[in-house]
Symmetry: C2
Subunit: 153 residues, 2 copies
Amino acid sequence: MTIAKELRGYFLSHRTITNELINKIDKEHYNYQPTETSMSAQKLVLHMLTSFYSITSAAAKQQPKQLHDATETDLNLSELAKTYTEETLTLLDSISDEGFSEIIDLSDTMGMKIPAKAVIHAAIDHEINHKGNLFIYVREMGHTDLPMFVFKG
Amino acid sequence: MTIAKELRGYFLSHRTITNELINKIDKEHYNYQPTETSMSAQKLVLHMLTSFYSITSAAAKQQPKQLHDATETDLNLSELAKTYTEETLTLLDSISDEGFSEIIDLSDTMGMKIPAKAVIHAAIDHEINHKGNLFIYVREMGHTDLPMFVFKG
């Protein structure tokens, strides 16, 4: 199995659950915050989607595309989740096994230089952390029928 | 570097933060729940500490020790966090590089048979997920000065 295929499966075992949670968020809850100092649900979701995509574009040594208009106020988070997930998978699939060994310079954003494979692993840890946040947001919105934290397809 | 030493560092990069969050929880908040259907803070913390320890004991092919009395009602979560973390590290350190390749049968608990190294990785994902929950609990208790989700020592 290629490294891209292995990481695709690992990424999707978490992103599938992220997207399932996002799909439970009604528009009226996009501005929901657990506390005054918390990110809103919309901000948290956008942070998860855009940071994974942007980190993967760095690992793939490609310029990220502009996938949504940051000035747009009427966003559809479920549609954005679908778009960002597909575009992230396209980038992942474009990285060869050799490419995953190349050192990526993330000094500016994450303060480290690590191999592309480790970059994706760090992005998945970041996704799991914020998905852990999102579970509480969605439960506080009134949902009690929630999935396991990892998808076993 | 041995696999045990590598996994020790990876585990601690998250457990250090878990313990920092646990240390912020006052006794009066041990029963705090974000919603009626959520685990209490105490139950969540005990779940994190005991499940990591018990999964690591399976990976190490050792019987877990009884580290606290489950019937005790007046627990000190910070002390338990210290004990469970130390005992988990002792187990991790006991596994040889060859041991990390051995297949561990977790059919009963996690429905899979995977190498010991993958068992520890799954336990770390589980820790990150619940630490993501715990961040929201602790913020809702009134704390706003919170650490990054991963410790870079």
